[in-house]
Symmetry: C2
Subunit: 598 residues, 2 copies
């Protein structure tokens, strides 16, 4: 299907095989060089670039960067010595016989040339300019590659989901407000004045209804919406690859997901070995100070609570003391250690204690003097250090301290250049608690309950089998059948076995402090559905923007979204959001007053 | 991947090959019969049904319709004479050895049994009840088939689009209000109080930007939104298979679309012969009184304007007189012809003149006396009638009269049983006018202009080559490069070559009465994009709900949507739309007053 009214071939179809043939090509002027009255044009289309040669000065004169042209000419070998081995079409060129300018281009706000990409990539303007001219930004080879890769990933995912018997179902996006924690975007319902739709934060309840409906294996690339305050790398709308299966347990979903991930990575030429490793949530916290540990490198946290249990140092008389090794850190200048203190304070810590192991066994650093002789002696062995290393400490509440050390661990690896974007270290995180304290500020998945407990995942998560009878008597320790898939320190996705019995759902809601009236109002339809033969079911969702960013090696999800929003939800390209007219507002019904009807 | 924690096989895997083997199955109790202390259960899962036999009365006692069970047992041949040749699993049964009830079911509000489908399909409750219990309605075999078919169609479409080099791109759904005619759904932007996003009526402008971006071949199953007053078979959100191609002309898009349609129909086992027929818009109106003619049957309109040019009958002294033949209609009782008058009045006509050709050449009916002897004599030949036929007339404004006759033509065919849902008569409708009178009430695609002209398709449609220089001098007759694909009297989709040059776009906007300020405000970003090398491009979109309804033989698009809205945009299942809390409302910012900031 290369052949259209405007071309017989794409640019990269033009190779030695076509020498002597007449071709018609269309595309953009990527670069123009002139040499002895002859114009050499790199003609770019969606396939890549081919060199075309124009001997006719008049024909060549108007052509400038990003003009759109249609041309006909004959393919010939390049003169000896002029080949470009780095180009697929580098042995040939097209001698142009006729040429039409299909569209002109003004001078560009920034360079998009493929041929000059290496030179221009570093000279990009700020992101607002890139977004305002997104149609130019997407011409740049790295962005064009990302958009294509994202499409290829979707295709690979669909192919394997189809092999596994999944049905693609589109669920509605104008729904009732759901209780999943973040703020809903809402849409006034003109035909029912005073009423609103919500845009879905996820199709969670709808996909559970599909299981009750007997669909058994559902998937969808679902558009989801969260009206959150601006945070870097969050978008008000985002895509998740949403899946749900009936008559499965956790192992079935994990096996399916692994096959899926393998196929997606394969689409980018990467082999993923299965099965993927697993770590319990508790181990992940203890060893890596994170529920999404980056396993591209080692250097686990070392717990020293016991080691310091009789310490004279007040700071270390804490529920938790831990450390992370800074290999070779002894050579670090004092001012850099001071900068680490600021880094830690920005993360809400008081500071970051450290010790340096000198070349000849001596122990230095501000904290050194506070710990006992005995503690000093064994410390090197306890933290696995050698002379010339340093070690960072955290002491205090267990989880907060671990998370600080976990962040230090990643920061150290980043500075050491260990975070290679084309290394992919996957792990499952399993054995999550069912509940967590409701005042935990470090999560968006805050559920709506009014008790001291909130759901770790969401209120529809099944307690693990061992806890089915007792989870409501001991919410603090109850475990759930849920699982996250993590890659390179990013939570790519997560899921759980769902509750399919209304008696269990009722008990979970009670722990969450959601009374029956509220439950009925918010998701009574799901509880009702459970009365008519709901199969056991479980599911998972992959954050698709994040997954594409990881696989493409992009720093930001905005680089794998065709038209992302900038900070504050603004679109520099179209100017959205924008005021609406008074007439439009009147029609929405937001100013409807029931008393006006009387 | 049949094998999970809950099953070794799906129901329809259980055939003669497995006799003697132990299997584990899970599913719903579709039907239960008891015979001599033995319970025969039709066990249903997503694959279909298999008979399982329970000899243990205690085990069988609790089982009722739609209970969810997991069972193990041994496959055996059914006793001779008990085979069911209509079932894939009809030669075998499973002798149950152990059984767990995974979930119970209350008594159902309506029957969903697959096995009893033929008996129960006619006894469905009203649609509001079906929608309230949609998770049960979707268990019914016809609905389950529709959902599966829709998924299969998407897969088939994606496969062929991929072969043709298309890239799937997701475009944003929180955008700026676009000028495509229908009312936008709008979403308050909390972070920019007083501002709103709009949900897209289509990704039209965004896909054109993707062409400027060099994507060249884009597709997306795009969710679209229109806030229209309730009309049967319209949904506030709907899906279109949206496509756009660069460096193509109308023929390229049509050829691509035909290949696509062939692949989609093939997914349901139907062969479509290519190329598809074409008819001009003018011919479609003249011959079928419709811009979406149903070609499953013939019986074209007969124009009689010339025939009656000297008529003494005042009613036929009109700019247009036409007729449609009612084969064998002479036997129709008078009261039925009277009912046709009411039918016509409901469609806004004054009535429906008719004549009956008696068995012996006589001409009867209320109108007969009004026409001259000469006119009577030639009339039978002129309309292609024989004795025993009748003929309906319409006279008046050309288009309105033709559309009335077109509706009569379809109604006659429907009553004659000629509208078979598994006959598929496709046609392209081509050669549309570029503009139409702005007061034409019969269209949603009313553009935003303020002149007497509005776009027939939309303001981005390219004038046809012959009219490029003169379309603004003679808007009434100017033609466009646009095309609709029609099947069985339904507009499945439509598209056009787009304007890619800002000079042409400016002239079109001028005809539409859109001044520069308004154009800049509404789609200045597209006009700006055209300054940087926009390739020629064209596209099409298929209404996916309609396409699925046609292919599945469904009367309503609601039967091919998992969770559709009822009238007025209500969802009887979840209760959406619904009021929101004062707190939620305050957060949306809709009550923001800029003066409060001062």
């Amino acid at each position: 299907m290369s052949q259209t009214a405007y071309r017989t071939h794409h640019a990269t179809d033009v190779t030695e095989d076509l020498v002597g043939q007449r071709v018609k090509l269309s595309g953009w002027v990527d670069r123009r060089r002139d040499h002895g009255g002859v114009a050499f044009i790199d003609l770019r289309d969606s396939s890549g670039v081919v060199q075309v040669v124009i001997n006719d000065e008049e024909m060549a004169r108007p052509l400038r960067s990003e003009f759109v042209v249609e041309l006909e000419g004959t393919v010939r070998m390049r003169p000896e010595g002029n080949e470009n081995p780095h180009m697929r079409t580098g042995k040939v060129e097209v001698e142009v016989e006729s040429l039409d300018v299909l569209a002109k281009s003004d001078a560009l706000p920034f360079q998009v040339s493929t041929v000059l990409a290496n030179e221009t990539e570093g000279k990009l303007p700020g992101e607002d300019v890139r977004l305002k001219y997104r149609y130019l930004d997407l011409r740049r080879p790295s962005m064009a590659r990302n958009i294509k890769l994202r499409s290829d990933m979707m295709k690979a995912a669909r192919t394997v989901l189809d092999e596994m018997g999944f049905t693609e179902v589109e669920t509605p996006t104008m729904i009732k407000s759901t209780p999943e924690g973040a703020r809903d975007f809402v849409v006034p319902a003109r035909l029912v004045p005073g009423s609103w739709y919500a845009l879905p934060q996820s199709p969670q309840l709808l996909k559970q209804l599909l299981m009750v409906a007997g669909v058994e294996r559902y998937y969808q690339f679902a558009r989801c919406y969260r009206d959150e305050d601006f945070r870097a790398d969050r978008q008000p709308e985002f895509t998740q690859l949403d899946m749900e299966m009936a008559f499965v347990d956790q192992e079935d979903v994990m096996a399916m997901t692994e096959r899926l991930i393998q196929a997606i990575w394969k689409a980018a030429g990467h082999d993923v070995q299965l099965p993927l490793p697993r770590i319990t949530w508790q181990d992940a916290m203890d060893k890596y100070g994170s529920d999404k540990p980056d396993l591209r490198f080692g250097n686990p946290l070392v717990e020293l609570t016991d080691y310091f249990k009789n310490t004279p140092f007040r700071v270390f008389q804490a529920p938790y003391v831990g450390a992370v090794l800074f290999k070779g850190g002894a050579a670090t200048p004092r001012r850099q250690f001071d900068a680490w203190q600021d880094w830690a304070k920005q993360r809400g810590a008081k500071g970051l204690a450290y010790i340096v192991f000198g070349e000849n066994g001596e122990i230095k650093g501000p904290v050194a003097k506070n710990i006992s002789e005995e503690e000093r002696n064994g410390l090197k062995a306890a933290v696995g250090a050698e002379d010339g290393d340093a070690v960072f400490f955290a002491a205090g509440a267990r989880e907060a301290s671990q998370m600080l050390l976990g962040a230090v661990r990643v920061e150290l690896a980043d500075r050491a250049g260990l975070l290679k974007p084309d290394d992919f270290a996957f792990t499952w995180v399993v054995d999550f608690p069912l509940f967590k304290k409701a005042d935990d500020p470090d999560d968006d998945d805050v559920a709506v309950g009014h008790s001291k407990w909130t759901s770790m995942h969401h209120p529809f998560t099944m307690p693990s089998k061992d806890w089915l009878d007792t989870f409501d008597q001991d919410p603090e320790h109850a475990m759930s059948d849920s699982y996250d898939i993590v890659c390179n320190g990013n939570e790519m996705g997560g899921g759980s076995v769902r509750i399919h019995r209304d008696d269990i759902q009722d008990r979970v809601l009670e722990v969450l402090g959601i009374d029956e009236a509220e439950a009925q109002d918010k998701f009574g339809f799901l509880l009702e559905a459970f009365k008519y033969g709901a199969p056991p079911h479980a599911g998972i969702a992959l954050g698709w923007d994040r997954t594409a960013a990881i696989l493409s090696g992009s720093d930001s999800i905005r680089d794998v979204i065709a038209f992302p929003k900038a900070g504050g939800g603004r679109d520099p390209l179209t100017g959205a959001p924008a005021p609406i007219s008074d007439e439009q507002r009147a029609e929405t019904g937001v100013d409807y007053d029931p008393e006006d009807d009387e």
